[in-house]
């Protein structure tokens, strides 16, 4: 039961935190159409996050908002890829954002497509619903990857740099976590989708004329990373902004 809640938090926090990052683009995208598209993706992920946190909350006796707003950094279980600044902040640009979106949505799509067969009917239903959304996210990222890879020298350079920036965080996506091991039939072992995702990424990068970065592996702290609640230094600032108002008005109704 605890493992199920932890697993829902893992998947839910990925979506919540990445959605928070994507929403930073709102009113800052390169063109109006893209402002709408990124907001759409952020909304889809926020929706997924809400369902997953709600499911975790059923087990833990907490609401989605208690889980989103009243947990401390060490209790968030999202992967580092979701939390790092890939733009519009100083940590990236649109090219980096697209690189992250491509990796994240290809990975999550593969996970969700297996999660449809989960023994937990709620997770299976969430996966079923999310599948179409994630397919759109991945297509959107793939199209932009090709456009930027093929477009101009500058766009090629930038999206390649974006790939280099996010690549060290890819390893974590496929590392099996103890929580997943404890939920056979319920959770998807991310290691099992690695070759599928690799294939997708290789195809897109090849169509875009981009080079797959060398497989480096971001270091861990005593073997721990995002799934264990050990985050990058960017995470604390993200949470401060996200949670401050909620924490400032205890007992308020929204």
């Amino acid at each position: 039961k605890d493992a199920l809640a932890a697993y829902c938090l893992m998947l839910g926090d990925d979506a919540l935190i990445f959605s928070q990052r994507l929403a930073e683009w709102c009113s800052r995208a390169p063109e109006l159409e893209e402002d709408i598209a990124l907001a759409n993706i952020a909304l889809d992920l926020l929706g997924q996050a809400r369902m997953l946190l709600t499911r975790a909350g059923e087990v833990l006796g907490k609401s989605e908002d208690e889980l989103a707003y009243l947990r401390d950094e060490r209790e968030f279980r999202n992967v580092h890829l979701a939390e790092i600044d890939c733009g519009p902040g100083p940590g990236g640009d649109f090219g980096t954002t697209i690189a992250r979106l491509l990796v994240f949505s290809s990975w999550r799509l593969a996970l969700f497509s297996r999660l449809r067969g989960s023994a937990d009917p709620v997770l299976a239903a969430i996966a079923e619903k999310g599948l179409k959304e994630l397919a759109y996210h991945r297509d959107h990222a793939a199209q932009w990857t090709v456009r930027l890879g093929d477009g101009t020298d500058e766009s090629h350079r930038r999206v390649q740099a974006g790939l280099e920036r996010v690549w060290p965080f890819v390893d974590e996506l496929f590392a099996t976590h103890a929580v997943e091991t404890r939920l056979p039939g319920v959770a998807v072992d991310p290691a099992s989708v690695k070759s599928e995702v690799d294939g997708v990424l290789d195809a897109v990068l090849s169509a875009a004329g981009l080079t797959r970065p060398a497989d480096t592996r971001a270091a861990r702290v005593a073997g721990m990373a995002g799934r264990d609640g050990v985050h990058t230094e960017a995470m604390g600032y993200l949470l401060a902004e996200m949670q401050h108002l909620h924490r400032s008005l205890p007992g308020a109704v929204w």
Binding site: A23, I36, A39, S155, L245
Partner: protein, 313 residues
């Protein structure tokens, strides 16, 4: 011939029928429309900022989703409206340049800062409410693409307005601190909302011709009165007051009397001297400039694809 065309145009407008992009239209009509629709589009785009300011900090996930969807809708409205100007021969890039160089205006209301989350609700209720009062008549405006865009926009804005009001209702049922936040926010936004209808009719230019062309259908003061009449009972239901000691029901007129906004402040903000004018334009400029390489890349890729297809054909 020209007279003939002009006559047909006049008749179409008089008959409350629609002018379509392919129809002949006077130059002044076209220019006035482009300017008006562009300003409206700019307002939607700049209007994303004050509310967008609270997306990352929204105090519940439900409110975050509602707010993000709303700001996204505003981008969508901007897109329809820029498209409508394109049917008149305008160019989106050119209009954007005019916006960020300060050569075209947008609604001054967005030059006020959003200081608390209650502002999100009050903007929905009062600012969108005032916008709807301004825009509902435009659903019957003479230019077809504009009228159709307005129908869709008004529908979505009514939805936003209800959501804003519902947020305030929820907050008023919350803690005392929340109720104080709502009242404070109403105090700050009431007068700027009244200014959204433009200067008093006695000082307003352009109105007469625009009324004749059915681009505009009510005077500023008429719309302002309508808005006040509508808003007072809503405020009562909510449990807030408006910061206007002159506001009271006039039995004789069957309408509310109300005080006069600070028109000096209005003109100051219109002329660029509001709290956030520079910030809003700088934000838009930065987004536009930072995105230039992306738009260039997309164009270059499309160009290459076209060449490939042509070669294949």
């Amino acid at each position: 011939m020209a007279d003939d065309l002009e006559l047909r145009f006049e008749r179409t407008v008089q008959a409350e029928a629609r002018i379509e992009p392919r129809d002949w239209m006077p130059d002044g009509y076209r220019k006035t429309l482009i300017r008006q629709i562009a300003q409206h589009a700019h307002s939607e785009i700049i209007g994303m900022q004050p509310e967008g300011n609270w997306i990352s900090r929204a105090p519940s996930l439900r409110r975050k989703a509602i707010l993000l969807a709303k700001v996204q809708d505003e981008a969508g409205h901007g897109l329809y409206l820029y498209s409508a100007t394109e049917t008149l021969g305008a160019d989106r890039e050119d209009l954007t340049t005019k916006l960020i160089e300060g050569r075209q205006k947008y609604s001054s209301i967005f030059n006020y800062p959003t200081l608390t989350f209650a502002d999100v609700g009050v903007i929905g209720w009062l600012v969108d409410g005032a916008a709807i009062c301004n825009q509902v008549p435009l659903c019957r405006t003479s230019y077809g693409p504009y009228a159709r865009a307005m129908i869709r926009i008004c529908k979505e804005e009514s939805f936003h307005q209800r959501q804003g009001y519902e947020l305030l209702m929820t907050m008023m049922r919350g803690t005392q601190q929340q109720r104080d936040m709502v009242q404070d926010s109403v105090n700050r936004w009431w007068w700027p909302a009244l200014m959204m209808f433009g200067p008093p009719d006695s000082e307003s230019t352009n109105t007469e011709q625009s009324m004749a062309w059915r681009i505009k259908r009510d005077t500023n003061d008429e719309l302002r009165q309508k808005f006040v009449n509508m808003s007072v009972p809503q405020a009562e239901a909510l449990g807030v007051t408006f910061p206007d000691p002159e506001l009271k029901w006039n039995e004789e007129r069957g309408q509310y009397d109300f005080g006069s906004p600070d028109w000096d402040e209005f003109w100051q903000v219109v002329k660029g001297g509001g709290v956030c004018n520079e910030q809003r334009i700088a934000h838009r400029r930065k987004a536009h400039e930072d995105g230039a390489w992306v738009r260039e890349a997309a164009a270059a890729h499309a160009q290459k694809q076209a060449v490939v297809k042509e070669g294949a054909a």
